[in-house]
């Protein structure tokens, strides 16, 4: 059963074909990874799924239902599609706690009048969100020591973690992570990998990620799709993808299978 199904998606900007006839599926409750060289169209694909770009052709099915282009990003967020960004997109003027609470925005209802009075429903709702954020997310991601700090003062690794926390507060069904470990040191990468696996196993959230760190991709992915020049080269289990000559060609520019296999294995062991 696939929770997300991309079929024959094409997107172009003027003459630049960002995505050409892209089809792949994201099986439910898996960690599915999209890999590919820079400029392959991975982030464009994310933007199509979250509703920022309208693909010219093709369809996206979410939970078996079509997801047409006229459903705007806020609606998609409410439907359970959450994401993080490649270059961190936190709100710098706010504390960690407020950033995470923002994730719960779509699940809250209080209106302007009760907000002005901070009485009755608005107050109760805020308290419920605070409790949920504290006990379900802050505790899980081990960021309780920084909850009062403004995000601008945090290290890169912690900012990425806060961004993940904010996405989790959206109560997603599909969590899209755009390069979750880029620029992290090894310890931070290991933490993040552990969180991603826990999110899938304990929370039953399907994870769709874009990542360049092959060691981590091969370790934690259940399903991999490879994108190059806007086209899907192959998809399948990590082991199959690893040995696919097309993939090796896309990464190395030739068919020297042995050297890449060596490289991938070395990275796999290192991670």
């Amino acid at each position: 059963m696939s929770i997300l199904e991309i079929s024959n998606l094409s997107l172009s900007f003027g003459g630049v074909k960002a995505l050409q006839d892209v089809s792949f599926r994201v099986p439910e409750n898996t960690v599915t990874t999209i890999i590919g060289p820079n400029g392959a169209g991975k982030t464009s694909l994310f933007n199509c799924i979250s509703g920022f770009y309208k693909p010219q052709q093709g369809a996206i099915h979410y939970q078996g239902q079509p997801l047409p282009g006229n459903i705007k990003p806020p609606k998609r967020a409410a439907m359970g599609l959450a994401r993080t960004f490649q270059n961190i997109a936190l709100f710098r003027g706010m504390t960690v706690l407020d950033n995470i609470k923002l994730g719960a925005h779509v699940h809250m209802k209080s209106g302007l009048l009760s907000a002005l009075a901070y009485f009755g429903p608005a107050r109760r709702e805020e308290m419920a969100v605070r409790k949920d954020v504290e006990e379900r997310i802050i505790d899980f991601l081990e960021i309780d020591h920084i909850r009062r700090q403004p995000v601008a003062s945090l290290s890169y690794g912690l900012q990425k973690r806060v961004e993940l926390a904010r996405a989790l507060a959206m109560q997603p069904k599909v969590l899209m992570l755009d390069e979750p470990v880029a620029g992290m040191n090894r310890e931070e990468k290991e933490d993040m990998a552990r969180f991603i696996l826990d999110i899938r196993e304990e929370w039953g959230v399907t994870v769709l990620m874009v990542e360049h760190d092959m060691g981590m991709v091969m370790d934690i992915s259940d399903h991999i799709a490879v994108l190059n020049f806007g086209q899907v080269i192959t998809e399948g289990l990590p082991a199959d993808v690893q040995n696919n000559p097309e993939v090796i060609k896309a990464y190395l520019g030739n068919s020297d299978i042995d050297s890449l296999r060596k490289k991938l294995n070395a990275e796999g062991e290192a991670a």
Binding site: A77, F91, D98, L102, H105, G111, A115, L116, Y118, E134
Partner: protein
């Protein structure tokens, strides 16, 4: 040094004032506000009322420009809408002032929503120009729609009244203006404890990722415009009751810039900053005038020399603040607080 304030519940942790010390100073401040009109002369009372009105309007503009990141040069126009609504209603109906004030706020909010419509497409300087156009347009309506606004001559109105009580003096107006200012700042503070305030700040900091989080940009930008001009409308209504005459020249463009300066000098996106900025912008020109008067016995030429200097000194003070305290007056306050929070230790 601040110690022993561990919280047992989220409720206590989310309170606005979390320590006994804070509550003590707040109580003292409110007490001073209450005693103030009984002990000061009429000039200071007049200034107190002006600061109260300025605080309401600055807080409104702070919500829009400081917290939502939408620059507006229409604040004086929105105040004008509120003032004319109050003036027209008090001349043509017998409604008591709470009702006319509320209607003034709602009227200004409605106009604010209209003016805010371009904000979905334009930001920054372009939005400043769009709101500038709206303010010129409003000024034109005030001056030309004679059957309603009285044209260039404006409207004169009776004092505010409620239950047979007339608010004809500054002393009585103080008891409308200042409690209302306190309540409205408190209400604004409440908004920023909820999802609506967070959505405003999210739009200011990064509107694209706000959208990804499910925040409807149009809805919240317009809500911010509505709320901000509601505050301006109330301030304008109080202005009308305070001076009891409203003309198109009561709300010049320079007034919009005055409020923008108050928000920036006080500290963008900081409610305390709005209060301090409003007080600063209202009181410093007056203080400079007092200084001139104090110098006159020693230098008989002081008024001649000082009067052209006032504007320059005032401008230089604003520039100085922007250079040395870019986060505004509120930052100075925060530094003092940090000092006492750690005292007797440093850093």
């Amino acid at each position: 040094m601040r110690i022993g304030d561990a919280k047992q519940s989220y409720e206590a942790d989310e309170a606005i004032w979390t320590s006994q010390t804070q509550k003590f100073w707040l109580g003292l401040f409110l007490l001073i506000l209450l005693v103030f009109p009984f002990v000061v002369n009429s000039y200071l009372l007049y200034l107190g009322c002006l600061v109260g009105i300025a605080v309401i309007s600055t807080t409104g503009l702070n919500i829009l420009t400081g917290f939502t990141g939408l620059i507006s040069l229409g604040q004086a126009g929105f105040m004008g809408v509120g003032a004319y609504t109050v003036a027209w209603l008090s001349i043509n109906t017998a409604l008591p002032f709470p009702v006319t004030l509320l209607l003034a706020g709602l009227m200004a909010a409605a106009v604010g929503i209209l003016v805010g419509l371009p904000s979905l497409r334009v930001k920054g300087l372009y939005l400043a120009i769009a709101t500038l156009a709206a303010s010129v347009f409003l000024h034109f309506i005030f001056a030309e729609w004679e059957s309603v606004t009285g044209g260039m001559g404006g409207l004169s109105l009776e004092p505010a009244h409620l239950f047979g009580l007339t608010f004809q003096s500054d002393f009585r107006m103080y008891f409308i203006i200042v409690p209302l200012a306190v309540l409205m700042v408190l209400a604004a503070r409440n908004v920023f404890r909820t999802r609506i305030g967070r959505a405003f700040i999210a739009i200011r900091d990064r509107d694209i990722s706000a959208e990804i989080l499910g925040i409807n940009l149009l809805r919240y930008k317009l809500m911010s415009f509505a709320l901000s001009s509601f505050y301006a409308g109330i301030a304008g209504g109080l202005f009308a009751y305070f001076y009891r005459v409203v003309t198109p020249e009561s709300f010049p463009l320079s007034m919009s810039i005055f409020y923008l300066a108050a928000v920036i000098v006080g500290g963008m996106g900081n409610l305390l900053g709005g209060i301090l900025g409003a007080a600063f912008m209202t009181l410093v020109p007056e203080a400079l005038k007092l200084l001139t008067a104090a110098l006159t016995p020693f230098y008989p030429n002081a008024p001649v020399f000082m009067s052209p200097m006032l504007e320059i000194i005032f401008g230089a003070l604003i520039v100085g603040f922007l250079i040395f305290e870019p986060h505004g007056l509120a930052e100075i306050w925060h530094r003092i607080r940090r000092f006492f929070r750690l005292w007797p230790f440093r850093n």
